[in-house]
C-alpha cells in the first residue's frame, strides 16, 4: 500500500529525513517510535502533503501512485488520513459542517453519492457514541475550546467518519489520560481491517499496550535504525532510545 524508498527531505535547507525505507501492506499496523527530533512528525506531515518540505531524494508510492506528486486534498481523497499531533482550531465552522465538507469531498472523488443531511448526522452520532464523545460537540466550532483530550478524540472521530485506507496517527496518545487512551485505542482497534493500514507515530510505548502493532520501527536522526515485532517497543521502554544507538554502533 505504502512504499517509501530512500526518502531524503528537509525544511529551510536543513535535512531532517536521511534515507527512510518503509513498506506498509494492507491490514498491517505499524508503529514508528523515536525520540524528539528524530523526524517522526516531519515524516507524518510530509506524507499528508504539507507544503514547505523539500524532498531531495527518494520516492513514495501509495496505491501505485506517486504520492509526492499529489496535492494534500488528492491524497485525502485517495484514502490517506493524518491524525494531527496538534489539531487546528477553526472558529466559526462547526464540527458537523467540517465533517460533512470532508466526507462529501472524499465520497464525490470516489464516485459515491453525497450523503444527505439525515444520514450524515446519524453516521456522526454513531461514531461519536463509540468514542464516548458528547453530541453537543457537533454544533461547536472545530476544536475551539476543546481540551487536549477532546481534540485528540476529535481526530479519531474524523478518521472513523472518513474511513481512510491508510491512517497515520501522529502522537495521538499525547495529552490523554488513561481512560481516554483506552477509548481512543478501542476506536482505533475497531478500525483494524484487512483493507486498511494504520501507522502509529509515537514517542512512548504506552499506546502500544492497547493497540498492538505488527511491526515496530525505531526512527533516529532521520533514519529507521531498527525494525522488529511488538516486543521491540517493550525493550525500548526498558532500555531507552540510547540502547538502539549503542546496538547499532556495536
Amino acid at each position: 500500500m505504502l512504499s517509501i524508498k530512500n526518502l531524503h527531505a528537509g525544511i529551510h535547507g536543513k535535512e531532517i529525513l536521511r534515507g527512510i525505507d518503509l513498506g506498509v501492506r494492507s491490514g498491517e499496523v505499524h508503529a514508528i517510535m523515536g525520540p524528539n527530533g528524530s523526524g517522526k512528525s516531519t515524516l507524518a506531515q510530509l506524507l499528508a502533503g504539507r507544503d514547505g518540505y523539500e524532498v531531495t531524494a527518494g520516492s513514495v508510492r501509495y496505491l501505485d501512485q506517486d504520492l509526492l506528486a499529489m496535492p494534500a486534498e488528492a491524497r485525502a481523497r485517495a484514502g490517506l488520513f493524518l491524525a494531527f499531533q496538534y489539531p487546528v482550531e477553526i472558529p466559526g465552522v462547526s464540527n458537523a459542517l467540517f465533517l460533512k465538507a470532508a466526507l462529501n469531498s472524499i465520497r464525490k472523488q470516489q464516485g459515491l453519492d453525497e450523503l444527505d443531511a439525515m444520514d450524515l448526522l446519524q453516521l456522526m452520532r454513531d461514531k461519536m457514541k463509540l468514542l464516548g464523545m458528547d453530541e453537543l460537540l457537533l454544533p461547536r466550532a472545530v476544536n475551539e475550546g476543546f481540551s487536549g483530550g477532546e481534540k485528540k478524540r476529535n481526530e479519531v472521530l474524523q478518521m472513523a467518519v472518513l474511513e481512510p485506507k491508510l491512517a497515520i496517527l501522529d502522537e495521538t496518545d499525547s495529552g490523554l489520560d488513561i481512560d481516554a487512551l483506552k477509548i481512543v485505542a478501542d476506536g482505533v482497534n475497531g478500525m483494524r481491517h484487512p483493507q486498511r493500514a494504520i501507522v502509529l507515530v509515537t514517542h512512548y510505548q504506552r499506546l502500544l499496550e492497547f493497540i498492538v502493532p505488527d511491526v515496530v520501527h525505531v526512527l533516529s536522526q532521520g533514519r529507521i535504525v531498527r525494525s522488529g515485532a511488538a516486543e521491540l517497543a517493550r525493550e525500548l521502554e526498558q532500555h531507552g532510545y540510547g540502547w538502539v544507538e549503542e546496538q547499532k554502533a556495536a
Binding site: 494531527f84 466559526g92 465538507a101
Partner: protein, 442 residues
C-alpha cells in the same frame, strides 16, 4: 475652504421642502431650519477633519441635488417580491421606499399591549405628544445627522411601555428604488423600564443603482430594558450610505448592535452608546465584507459614564479587490465609571494586495479600578488551518471559503434572530467561491 464652497454650489437646495412631514408643526419646522443652517455652516466633511481622515465623501458633493423625492416611489418588482417574502416570515414588517413608509407592503401585525409601532410621518403630522427633544442637535453626532434632521422624510417609531416584551423582531426594510434618489430615514426606538425587543434594519437596493442614503436611528433604553439591533446593509455597488445609530442607556439596560456591511459603494456607520446608569451592558459587533472599489467605514463610540458597566466590541473585516475598510472604535471611561469592564477587538483579513484597512482602536480612561483591553489585527488566512482542511479532502478553494465563512460566522453567530442569522450566512456565502456547495451542507 474652496472645497466646501464647491459642495455648497452643488447642493441645489435653497430651503427645506414644504412637503416634509410635520411641516405644519412649528417646532418641527424650526428644528429642521436650524439643523439645515448647521449643515450649511459646516458643509460636507473633508479629510482634514480627524473623524473623516480615511473616508472621502467629496463625491457626495457632486450630486445634482440633496432633495428627497416629494412623492413616494414604487419599489422595483424584485424589491417588491422580496418585501412580500419577508412579510411571510416576519409578523412585524415595515417597508419604506426611498424614505417613505409604504402601507401596502408593510404588515405591522398584532403587537402586545404596551407596544406601539408606527411611521414617523404619521406621528409628526397627527400628534403633538412628541417633544422638540426628538430633533435635538445632540442626536446629530455628525454633519450628516444635521442634514437628516433637516430633510428626514419618514421612519419607524417603536414605543414600548415599561415591561413590554416583543417576541418577534420588528423588521424594517428600507428599499432604495430607481436612480439618484436622496433618502433620509429617521427611526426612533424608546424602550420603557424592563421592556425587551429586537429590531432589524435592512437596507436593500438594486445592484447598480446609485442613490444616497442618510439615516439616523435614535434609541433610548430605560432601566433594565433590553434592545437588540441588527443592521444589514445590502445596497447596490454604486450607492452611498451614511448612517448613525445612537443609543442612550439607563441603569442595568442591555443594548446589542450588529452591523453587517455587505453592499454599497461608500458607507459610513457611526454607532454610539452612552452608558448613563450603573450595571449596564453594551455589545457592538460588526462585519464588513468588501471587494471591488467598496469603501466601508465604521466609527463607534462607547461612553462609560456610570460605574460597573460592561462593554464588548467585536468587529471583523474581509477585504478583497481594491476595497478599503476603516474601523475606528473609541471607548471612553469617564471619571465616574469605576469598575468598568470593556473589551474591544478588530480583526481583518486582506485577500488582495490592493485591499487596505485602517484600524484604530482607541481607549481613553479617566477612572480608576477598571478592566479594559483592546486589540487589532490585519492578516491573511492561516496556512495551518488551510492544510488541516485540505488534509481532510477539501480542495484549496473550498477550504479558503470555509475559513472565510468561519471568520465571518463568528460575528453572524452573535445575531439572536435565527431567520436573520441564516439570511446573512447565505449572503456571505453568495460572495464566496464554492459558497453554493457550502450552503447545501449547512
Amino acid at each position: 475652504m474652496n472645497i466646501q464652497l464647491e459642495s455648497w454650489e452643488h447642493m441645489a437646495l435653497e430651503q427645506i421642502p414644504q412637503f416634509l412631514a410635520g411641516s405644519g408643526v412649528p417646532w418641527v419646522s424650526q428644528a429642521r431650519q436650524s439643523a439645515f443652517e448647521r449643515y450649511m455652516a459646516h458643509g460636507l466633511p473633508t479629510r482634514r477633519e480627524e473623524e473623516w481622515k480615511y473616508t472621502d465623501v467629496a463625491q457626495i458633493g457632486k450630486r445634482s441635488s440633496f432633495a428627497p423625492d416629494s412623492i413616494p416611489a414604487d419599489p422595483s418588482s424584485e424589491a417588491a417580491l422580496f418585501a412580500w417574502t419577508l412579510a411571510q416570515q416576519h409578523p412585524h414588517l415595515m417597508v419604506f421606499v426611498n424614505g417613505y413608509y409604504s402601507d401596502g407592503f408593510s404588515a405591522i401585525g398584532e403587537l402586545p399591549d404596551g407596544a406601539r409601532l408606527q411611521s414617523l410621518s404619521e406621528l409628526l403630522d397627527s400628534s403633538a405628544e412628541l417633544s422638540p427633544e426628538l430633533f435635538d442637535a445632540a442626536h446629530e453626532h455628525t454633519v450628516f445627522g444635521a442634514l437628516n434632521t433637516a430633510l428626514a422624510t419618514d421612519g419607524a417609531v417603536l414605543h414600548l411601555a415599561p415591561g413590554t416584551e416583543l417576541k418577534d423582531p420588528v423588521y424594517l426594510l428600507f428599499i432604495a428604488s430607481g436612480h439618484g434618489a436622496a433618502i433620509y430615514p429617521r427611526n426612533l426606538i424608546i424602550a420603557g423600564a424592563g421592556a425587551r425587543a429586537t429590531v432589524i434594519e435592512h437596507y436593500f437596493g438594486m445592484l447598480d443603482a446609485h442613490h444616497f442614503t442618510d439615516a439616523i436611528t435614535q434609541i433610548e433604553l430605560a432601566a433594565d430594558a433590553d434592545l437588540q439591533h441588527c443592521k444589514l446593509l445590502q445596497e447596490g455597488n454604486a450607492s452611498i450610505h451614511v448612517a448613525g445609530i445612537h443609543a442612550v442607556q439607563a441603569a442595568r439596560s442591555r443594548f446589542g448592535s450588529q452591523s453587517f456591511a455587505l453592499g454599497s459603494r461608500l458607507a459610513r456607520n457611526d454607532i454610539t452608546s452612552r452608558l448613563t446608569g450603573p450595571d449596564g451592558h453594551c455589545s457592538l459587533d460588526g462585519l464588513y465584507l468588501l471587494d471591488g472599489k467598496q469603501h466601508v467605514d465604521h466609527h463607534t463610540r462607547i461612553d462609560h459614564l456610570a460605574p460597573s458597566c460592561t462593554s464588548r466590541e467585536y468587529y471583523r473585516g474581509i477585504l478583497d479587490g481594491e476595497s478599503h475598510g476603516v474601523f475606528n472604535g473609541k471607548v471612553i471611561v469617564h471619571p465616574a465609571a469605576a469598575k468598568t469592564d470593556a473589551h474591544q477587538s478588530n480583526r481583518n483579513l486582506l485577500l488582495s494586495r490592493q485591499a487596505e484597512v485602517d484600524t484604530k482602536p482607541q481607549l481613553e480612561i479617566f477612572a480608576d479600578d477598571v478592566k479594559c483591553t483592546h486589540g487589532a489585527t490585519v492578516g491573511q488566512l492561516d496556512d495551518d488551518s488551510l492544510f488541516y482542511l485540505r488534509s481532510r479532502g477539501v480542495d484549496a478553494e473550498s477550504a479558503r471559503s470555509l475559513l472565510l465563512y468561519g471568520f465571518a460566522n463568528d460575528i453572524i453567530g452573535r445575531v439572536g434572530e435565527p431567520g436573520m442569522r441564516t439570511r446573512i450566512q447565505h449572503l456571505v456565502l453568495d460572495r464566496l467561491p464554492q459558497g453554493e456547495q457550502i450552503k447545501e451542507l449547512l
